[in-house]
Subunit: 338 residues, 2 copies
C-alpha cells in the first residue's frame, strides 16, 4: 500500500481514460468518480477497476461516445437505453434525471437498460442526497451467486442502494446481495486469514469462514441466507420489467462482460414536499442518537449509521493520501503514459 493524493490519483486516472479514447469531459467525470470511490476506501470499485474498464473500451464492450437515449416517458417515469455507454455516465445521468423529475412530481423513477458496469452503487445514492433527495437505486448483473439451495451460479449479486440527505452526513446504504464479494474472499485467501464471519460453503456443504474453501467451491453466501437470494431475484426481475431491459438470464446470454447490458432503476423522492426541514432533521437525529446510545458489544465500541464509515474514511484519506495497492497504481501510471 502506498498513499496518493486525490489530485494526483484523479489526474492519472483521467490521463489513462484520455489515452483510451474517452472525450475530455467524460474522462474528467469518470476519473472523478473512480477517485472518490477509492478515497472512500472502496478500491475494489474505484482504482482497481480502471484497467478492466479500459480493456472493455478497447474490446468494444463499452462505447465511450454513447449516451442514454429516451425510450419511454410517462409523467414521473422515464426509461433510457444506455446504448452500452460508460456505466458511470449513464447512471449519473439517470439519477440526476430522477431528481429533476422528483423536484416536479415529488416521486420519480428513471430506468436504464442496456447499460454497463456502474462501478460503486453508492455514488448515485450520494448524488441524490447531495441534491436533497431520498434516492433508491439498484442494478442487476450477470450470474455470480448460487441461489439458495444450489451450488451453481444462477443469480446476480445485484447491488442495492438507499440514501437519505442529512446536513451532518447523508445516510447511504450500499449493499450487494452476496455477503462478501469475491474480491474480499480472494483477499482473505491470499493473506491466509479467515473471513470475519461465515461467508460461503465448503466442499462438504458446511457454512464456513474459510476463504480458501469458498474460493474453491464458488458457493458464496447470499446475505441473510435465503433472504439475499430471494431479494436478488426480485431486484433482477423488477429492474428488467421497469426498464424493458434484460434480466440476469438474458445478461448471461448477451455475454458482454461484467454487468454489460444490465438493467438499472433510479428512484428519487423529494422529502421536502411533505415535510419541513426541521421534521426531517429531527427524525434523522433522533434515530442516530438512539443508534449511538445502544450498548456496544465491546467496551468503547461504536455503532455506525449507513454511510458513516465511508465519510470517516474519506476525511482521513483526503488528509493523509489515499491508500492504493502499488502494483495497481503502477499499472494506472503505465496506462496513462502509453
Amino acid at each position: 500500500m502506498i498513499r496518493i493524493s486525490f489530485a494526483e490519483l484523479k489526474s492519472t486516472i483521467k490521463q489513462a481514460f484520455l489515452r483510451a479514447g474517452m472525450p475530455e469531459d467524460r474522462a474528467e467525470t469518470c476519473a472523478q468518480i473512480h477517485t472518490e470511490t477509492t478515497c472512500d476506501g472502496v478500491n475494489s470499485h474505484g482504482i482497481n477497476r480502471v484497467e478492466r474498464f479500459i480493456e472493455y473500451i478497447h474490446s468494444g464492450l463499452v462505447d465511450v461516445h454513447a449516451s442514454p437515449k429516451l425510450a419511454f416517458a410517462l409523467g414521473a417515469m422515464e426509461i433510457y437505453d444506455g446504448q452500452l455507454g460508460p456505466g458511470i455516465l449513464n447512471a449519473l445521468f439517470a439519477m440526476d434525471r430522477a431528481t429533476v423529475l422528483a423536484a416536479q412530481h415529488g416521486l420519480a423513477m428513471v430506468a436504464l437498460r442496456n447499460t454497463t458496469h456502474w462501478m460503486r452503487g453508492g455514488t448515485y445514492g450520494w448524488l441524490a442526497a447531495d441534491k436533497g433527495f431520498i434516492g433508491i437505486c439498484w442494478t442487476n448483473t450477470e450470474s455470480c451467486m448460487p441461489p439458495w439451495g444450489s451450488r451453481s451460479e444462477a443469480v446476480g449479486n445485484n447491488p442495492f442502494v438507499m440514501a437519505v440527505p442529512r446536513k451532518e452526513g447523508h445516510l447511504v446504504l450500499d449493499m450487494a446481495m452476496s455477503q462478501f464479494s469475491y474480491g474480499k474472499v480472494w483477499s482473505c485467501r491470499d493473506k491466509n486469514i479467515k473471513l470475519p464471519f461465515p461467508g460461503g460453503f465448503d466442499h462438504e456443504g458446511n457454512l464456513t469462514d474459510d476463504a480458501a474453501a469458498i474460493s474453491e467451491t464458488r458457493r458464496i453466501l447470499p446475505m441473510g441466507y435465503w433472504k439475499g437470494s430471494g431479494f436478488a431475484i426480485m431486484l433482477d426481475v423488477i429492474g428488467a420489467l421497469v426498464s424493458n431491459g434484460l434480466a440476469t438470464a438474458g445478461i448471461d446470454k448477451a455475454n458482454k462482460g461484467s454487468a454489460g447490458s444490465s438493467s438499472q432503476v433510479f428512484i428519487a423522492i423529494d422529502p421536502e414536499k411533505m415535510n419541513t426541514r426541521e421534521f426531517i432533521e429531527q427524525t434523522l437525529e433522533s434515530t442516530i442518537a438512539q443508534l449511538k446510545a445502544a450498548v456496544p458489544v465491546k467496551e468503547g465500541g461504536q455503532m455506525f449509521y449507513p454511510g458513516e464509515q465511508s465519510l470517516n474514511t474519506r476525511k482521513q484519506n483526503l488528509q493523509n493520501g489515499i491508500p492504493v495497492d502499488e502494483p495497481v497504481w503502477n499499472k494506472i501510471k503505465e496506462l496513462a503514459a502509453q
Copy 2:
C-alpha cells in the same frame, strides 16, 4: 397440531372479532386475511396473533372504527393518517389506493403513518400482484433488534416486501430484517433443537445456532450481519419521512404495543405501462427457468422463487385442512364464544 378447514377457521376468527366489537364488514375482512395467512403456513402472523389483536382492541391500542384519513396529496403520492385503526384494514386500503394511483400515473406511493400492526407484510404484495401491479412495501416497528455492533435493541425488524405479478404464481418476497423471528428462536428452544443456521450471539459474543442461548442474550442476528442492520435503519427513516410519521425511536417512546403508531410505505408500479404482457411473461419465465436449472446442493433438491413455497403450502392446506396449534385454536373458539 390439528387441521381445521379454511371456512371453519375463518368463521371462528370472524366470530371472535365480532365479539370484540368489530363491525361486520371489518371483522369479515380481517378474518379473511388472518385465515389466508395461516393457510399459507404463516401461523405466527395469522391465527397466533388473533388473541393479542383482540387484547389490543380491548385496551384501546387499536380503534376498530378508525379509517385512514388523507393528510397529503401530490399527484401520485398520498399520505394517510391511519388513526390507529386495524393495521390490516389500513394497509389493504393503502396498497389498493397505490394501485389505483399507479393505474393512472404508472408509478405511485401511498404512505401511512400512525397505523398498527399489519400482521403479514406479504398480504399487501399479493394484493398488488393480484391486481397486476408490481408492489413494494415496508413497515417500521418498535425496537426489537440490536443494531450491528451492539447488544441492546435499538432498531426495528422492519419487514420489507416486493411482489411481481405472474400468471402461474406471483413472485412475492416478504422478509424481516432479523434473520429469524423470536417466534422461531423460542420454538427451537422449546423443542430443544438448533436453529437451521446461525441466528444470533451467545453470552461469549460468538455467532451461534443455539436457540436457548440467543433467547437469553436477545442478540438476534440482523440478516446479512451488518447489512440487515443498515437496511433496517434506512427503511425506518425513509418510512417516517415519506409518511411524515414516527421512526422507531418515536415508536418506542409512544409505547403503543407491537407496531402501534408505526409508519408504512406502499409503492405500486404498472408494468404494462412500459411492457407488453408477452415481454413480462418471457422475462419471468426465463428467470425462473434459470433458477430451476441451477445445480441443487442435494440430489433431487429444488430452488424456489420467492413466494413459491407459500403457494405450495396454500394448495396443500386448502386440500387437507390448515394445521394450527390446538391450544391456540381452543383460545380462538373461547374468544368466539364469549
